[in-house]
Protein backbone atom coordinates (compact mmCIF):
# COMPACT_ATOMS: atom_id res chain seq x y z
CA UNK A 1 0.00 0.00 0.00
CA UNK A 2 1.45 3.33 -1.03
CA UNK A 3 1.54 6.38 1.18
CA UNK A 4 -1.23 8.04 -0.80
CA UNK A 5 -3.35 4.91 -0.66
CA UNK A 6 -2.78 4.65 3.06
CA UNK A 7 -3.75 8.24 3.68
CA UNK A 8 -6.63 7.96 1.25
CA UNK A 9 -7.99 5.04 3.20
CA UNK A 10 -8.51 7.35 6.12
CA UNK A 11 -11.42 8.78 4.18
CA UNK A 12 -13.28 5.56 4.92
CA UNK A 13 -12.71 6.13 8.61
CA UNK A 14 -13.85 9.69 8.33
CA UNK A 15 -16.98 8.71 6.40
CA UNK A 16 -17.97 6.18 9.02
CA UNK A 17 -17.37 8.63 11.84
CA UNK A 18 -19.47 11.24 10.08
CA UNK A 19 -22.26 8.71 9.55
CA UNK A 20 -22.16 7.61 13.18
CA UNK A 21 -22.21 11.20 14.43
CA UNK A 22 -25.04 12.09 12.05
CA UNK A 23 -27.17 9.17 13.11
CA UNK A 24 -26.43 9.94 16.74
CA UNK A 25 -27.59 13.51 16.30
CA UNK A 26 -30.82 12.29 14.71
CA UNK A 27 -31.21 9.91 17.60
CA UNK A 28 -30.68 12.77 20.02
CA UNK A 29 -33.37 14.85 18.33
CA UNK A 30 -35.82 11.97 18.61
CA UNK A 31 -34.82 11.28 22.19
CA UNK A 32 -34.12 14.62 23.87
CA UNK A 33 -33.68 12.89 27.21
CA UNK A 34 -30.46 11.43 25.80
CA UNK A 35 -29.29 14.58 24.06
CA UNK A 36 -26.39 15.15 26.41
CA UNK A 37 -25.06 11.61 26.06
CA UNK A 38 -25.38 11.84 22.31
CA UNK A 39 -23.59 15.18 22.25
CA UNK A 40 -20.73 13.74 24.28
CA UNK A 41 -20.53 10.77 21.94
CA UNK A 42 -20.31 13.01 18.88
CA UNK A 43 -17.70 15.25 20.46
CA UNK A 44 -15.52 12.30 21.45
CA UNK A 45 -15.87 10.72 18.04
CA UNK A 46 -14.96 13.89 16.17
CA UNK A 47 -12.05 14.62 18.51
CA UNK A 48 -10.61 11.13 18.06
CA UNK A 49 -11.01 11.35 14.31
CA UNK A 50 -9.33 14.75 14.20
CA UNK A 51 -6.40 13.50 16.30
CA UNK A 52 -6.02 10.48 14.04
CA UNK A 53 -5.93 12.72 11.01
CA UNK A 54 -3.36 14.97 12.66
CA UNK A 55 -1.18 11.98 13.51
CA UNK A 56 -1.33 10.58 10.00
CA UNK A 57 -1.13 13.71 7.91
CA UNK A 58 1.49 15.54 9.93
CA UNK A 59 3.72 12.51 10.23
CA UNK A 60 5.62 12.14 6.97
CA UNK A 61 7.41 8.94 7.76
CA UNK A 62 7.65 6.15 5.24
CA UNK A 63 4.45 4.20 4.68
CA UNK A 64 4.14 0.61 3.63
Amino acid sequence: MSRSQFKGSLIEVRLSVTAAAGLAQLFGEAHPEHAEAVEQFCVRLQKSCRELGDAIYTNNQQVG
Binding site: V17, F41, Q61
Partner: protein, 195 residues
Protein backbone atom coordinates in the same frame (compact mmCIF):
# COMPACT_ATOMS: atom_id res chain seq x y z
CA UNK B 1 -36.16 7.55 9.94
CA UNK B 2 -35.24 7.56 13.58
CA UNK B 3 -31.91 5.79 13.97
CA UNK B 4 -31.50 3.22 16.65
CA UNK B 5 -28.54 2.65 18.90
CA UNK B 6 -27.74 -0.32 16.71
CA UNK B 7 -27.50 1.86 13.61
CA UNK B 8 -25.21 4.30 15.36
CA UNK B 9 -22.96 1.49 16.52
CA UNK B 10 -22.94 0.00 13.05
CA UNK B 11 -21.26 3.15 11.73
CA UNK B 12 -18.88 3.61 14.64
CA UNK B 13 -17.93 -0.06 14.39
CA UNK B 14 -17.20 0.46 10.71
CA UNK B 15 -14.89 3.36 11.63
CA UNK B 16 -13.00 1.17 14.08
CA UNK B 17 -12.79 -1.63 11.57
CA UNK B 18 -11.48 0.64 8.81
CA UNK B 19 -8.81 1.92 11.19
CA UNK B 20 -7.77 -1.58 12.24
CA UNK B 21 -7.46 -2.65 8.61
CA UNK B 22 -4.81 0.01 8.12
CA UNK B 23 -2.63 -1.39 10.89
CA UNK B 24 0.72 -2.51 9.58
CA UNK B 25 0.70 -0.30 6.51
CA UNK B 26 2.07 2.81 8.15
CA UNK B 27 4.83 3.72 10.54
CA UNK B 28 4.90 2.77 14.19
CA UNK B 29 3.47 6.17 15.04
CA UNK B 30 0.67 5.65 12.53
CA UNK B 31 -0.15 2.29 14.05
CA UNK B 32 -0.21 3.77 17.52
CA UNK B 33 -2.57 6.50 16.35
CA UNK B 34 -4.87 3.95 14.69
CA UNK B 35 -4.97 1.77 17.80
CA UNK B 36 -5.62 4.78 19.99
CA UNK B 37 -8.44 5.87 17.69
CA UNK B 38 -10.13 2.46 17.85
CA UNK B 39 -9.86 2.42 21.63
CA UNK B 40 -11.28 5.91 21.97
CA UNK B 41 -14.21 5.08 19.71
CA UNK B 42 -14.84 1.99 21.79
CA UNK B 43 -14.86 4.10 24.94
CA UNK B 44 -17.26 6.58 23.36
CA UNK B 45 -19.55 3.71 22.40
CA UNK B 46 -19.43 2.37 25.94
CA UNK B 47 -20.29 5.76 27.37
CA UNK B 48 -23.19 6.20 24.95
CA UNK B 49 -24.60 2.75 25.63
CA UNK B 50 -24.33 3.14 29.37
CA UNK B 51 -25.94 6.54 29.26
CA UNK B 52 -29.04 5.52 27.37
CA UNK B 53 -29.52 1.92 28.36
CA UNK B 54 -29.41 -0.17 31.48
CA UNK B 55 -27.54 -3.24 30.37
CA UNK B 56 -28.13 -6.50 32.14
CA UNK B 57 -27.00 -10.04 31.61
CA UNK B 58 -30.18 -10.67 29.68
CA UNK B 59 -29.22 -7.87 27.34
CA UNK B 60 -25.84 -9.52 26.81
CA UNK B 61 -27.48 -12.75 25.80
CA UNK B 62 -30.01 -11.00 23.62
CA UNK B 63 -27.21 -9.24 21.77
CA UNK B 64 -25.32 -12.52 21.44
CA UNK B 65 -28.43 -14.05 19.92
CA UNK B 66 -28.67 -11.22 17.43
CA UNK B 67 -24.98 -11.39 16.54
CA UNK B 68 -25.03 -15.13 15.93
CA UNK B 69 -28.23 -15.07 13.90
CA UNK B 70 -27.03 -12.18 11.76
CA UNK B 71 -23.65 -13.83 11.30
CA UNK B 72 -25.32 -17.02 10.09
CA UNK B 73 -27.43 -15.01 7.69
CA UNK B 74 -24.31 -13.21 6.50
CA UNK B 75 -22.53 -16.52 6.04
CA UNK B 76 -25.29 -17.91 3.86
CA UNK B 77 -25.45 -14.85 1.66
CA UNK B 78 -21.69 -14.67 1.18
CA UNK B 79 -20.86 -18.35 1.00
CA UNK B 80 -19.02 -18.17 4.30
CA UNK B 81 -21.14 -20.66 6.15
CA UNK B 82 -18.20 -22.46 7.74
CA UNK B 83 -16.65 -19.24 9.06
CA UNK B 84 -20.04 -18.09 10.33
CA UNK B 85 -20.69 -21.44 11.92
CA UNK B 86 -17.35 -21.34 13.77
CA UNK B 87 -17.94 -17.76 14.83
CA UNK B 88 -21.40 -18.60 16.16
CA UNK B 89 -20.07 -21.65 17.91
CA UNK B 90 -17.28 -19.70 19.63
CA UNK B 91 -19.57 -16.92 20.70
CA UNK B 92 -22.18 -19.30 22.07
CA UNK B 93 -19.46 -21.13 23.99
CA UNK B 94 -18.23 -18.05 25.81
CA UNK B 95 -21.83 -17.06 26.46
CA UNK B 96 -22.51 -20.46 27.93
CA UNK B 97 -19.49 -19.99 30.17
CA UNK B 98 -20.94 -16.74 31.39
CA UNK B 99 -24.30 -18.39 31.85
CA UNK B 100 -22.69 -21.18 33.83
CA UNK B 101 -20.83 -18.74 36.02
CA UNK B 102 -24.02 -16.86 36.64
CA UNK B 103 -25.93 -20.07 37.23
CA UNK B 104 -28.60 -18.96 34.88
CA UNK B 105 -30.89 -21.39 33.17
CA UNK B 106 -31.49 -19.96 29.78
CA UNK B 107 -31.95 -21.53 26.39
CA UNK B 108 -30.77 -19.58 23.42
CA UNK B 109 -34.07 -18.82 21.83
CA UNK B 110 -34.89 -15.89 19.64
CA UNK B 111 -35.57 -12.94 21.83
CA UNK B 112 -35.93 -10.18 19.28
CA UNK B 113 -38.30 -9.98 16.41
CA UNK B 114 -37.17 -9.95 12.85
CA UNK B 115 -34.50 -11.60 10.83
CA UNK B 116 -31.94 -9.32 9.16
CA UNK B 117 -32.45 -8.87 5.46
CA UNK B 118 -29.22 -7.07 4.65
CA UNK B 119 -25.86 -8.70 4.49
CA UNK B 120 -23.67 -6.15 6.16
CA UNK B 121 -21.05 -7.63 8.38
CA UNK B 122 -20.91 -4.48 10.45
CA UNK B 123 -24.38 -5.29 11.69
CA UNK B 124 -22.91 -8.35 13.32
CA UNK B 125 -19.96 -6.40 14.69
CA UNK B 126 -22.20 -3.73 16.12
CA UNK B 127 -24.17 -6.33 18.05
CA UNK B 128 -20.87 -7.58 19.37
CA UNK B 129 -19.99 -4.07 20.38
CA UNK B 130 -23.15 -4.07 22.42
CA UNK B 131 -22.33 -7.49 23.83
CA UNK B 132 -18.87 -6.46 24.96
CA UNK B 133 -20.03 -3.11 26.21
CA UNK B 134 -22.84 -4.66 28.21
CA UNK B 135 -20.39 -7.18 29.57
CA UNK B 136 -18.00 -4.47 30.70
CA UNK B 137 -20.88 -2.61 32.29
CA UNK B 138 -22.05 -5.67 34.17
CA UNK B 139 -18.49 -6.46 35.24
CA UNK B 140 -18.38 -3.19 37.12
CA UNK B 141 -21.56 -4.09 38.95
CA UNK B 142 -20.76 -7.73 39.45
CA UNK B 143 -17.11 -7.86 40.43
CA UNK B 144 -17.32 -11.56 41.16
CA UNK B 145 -18.09 -12.27 37.53
CA UNK B 146 -15.06 -10.52 36.11
CA UNK B 147 -13.43 -13.64 34.70
CA UNK B 148 -16.51 -14.70 32.82
CA UNK B 149 -17.25 -11.17 31.68
CA UNK B 150 -13.74 -10.78 30.32
CA UNK B 151 -14.20 -13.91 28.25
CA UNK B 152 -17.28 -12.44 26.62
CA UNK B 153 -15.71 -9.01 26.19
CA UNK B 154 -12.70 -10.55 24.52
CA UNK B 155 -14.84 -11.93 21.72
CA UNK B 156 -15.63 -8.58 20.22
CA UNK B 157 -14.45 -9.46 16.74
CA UNK B 158 -15.05 -12.67 14.87
CA UNK B 159 -11.54 -12.80 13.54
CA UNK B 160 -9.77 -11.94 16.74
CA UNK B 161 -9.75 -15.39 18.24
CA UNK B 162 -10.18 -13.91 21.70
CA UNK B 163 -13.37 -15.84 22.21
CA UNK B 164 -11.61 -19.09 21.57
CA UNK B 165 -8.69 -18.09 23.75
CA UNK B 166 -11.04 -17.16 26.57
CA UNK B 167 -12.74 -20.52 26.30
CA UNK B 168 -9.46 -22.38 26.37
CA UNK B 169 -8.21 -20.49 29.37
CA UNK B 170 -11.27 -21.27 31.43
CA UNK B 171 -13.05 -24.46 30.38
CA UNK B 172 -16.66 -24.67 31.58
CA UNK B 173 -15.99 -27.69 33.76
CA UNK B 174 -13.25 -25.81 35.60
CA UNK B 175 -15.45 -22.77 35.95
CA UNK B 176 -18.26 -24.85 37.43
CA UNK B 177 -15.77 -26.28 39.88
CA UNK B 178 -14.56 -22.83 40.82
CA UNK B 179 -18.13 -21.70 41.38
CA UNK B 180 -18.79 -24.76 43.50
CA UNK B 181 -15.65 -24.06 45.53
CA UNK B 182 -16.61 -20.48 46.00
CA UNK B 183 -13.87 -19.20 43.72
CA UNK B 184 -16.44 -17.26 41.77
CA UNK B 185 -19.25 -15.43 43.40
CA UNK B 186 -22.48 -16.54 41.79
CA UNK B 187 -24.72 -13.62 41.17
CA UNK B 188 -28.23 -13.65 42.54
CA UNK B 189 -30.71 -14.53 39.87
CA UNK B 190 -32.89 -11.52 39.74
CA UNK B 191 -36.21 -11.70 38.01
CA UNK B 192 -35.10 -9.19 35.39
CA UNK B 193 -32.31 -11.54 34.35
CA UNK B 194 -34.57 -14.48 33.70
CA UNK B 195 -35.21 -15.41 30.13
Amino acid sequence: MVPTLHKILTCSTAAKDHARRLLGFGSHEHNQALIRFAEEVQQAEDALIHSIETPSLTEIFNAVDCATRWAEKFGKLHAQTEAARKFSHDLKQVSLELQTACQMDRSFQQTREGIPTDAHLYDVLSWLTQVSSYARFVSVRQAGLCDAIKAVSGGSAPHSGNAARGRQSQPPSRRKKRVAEGGLTPCPIESRWRA
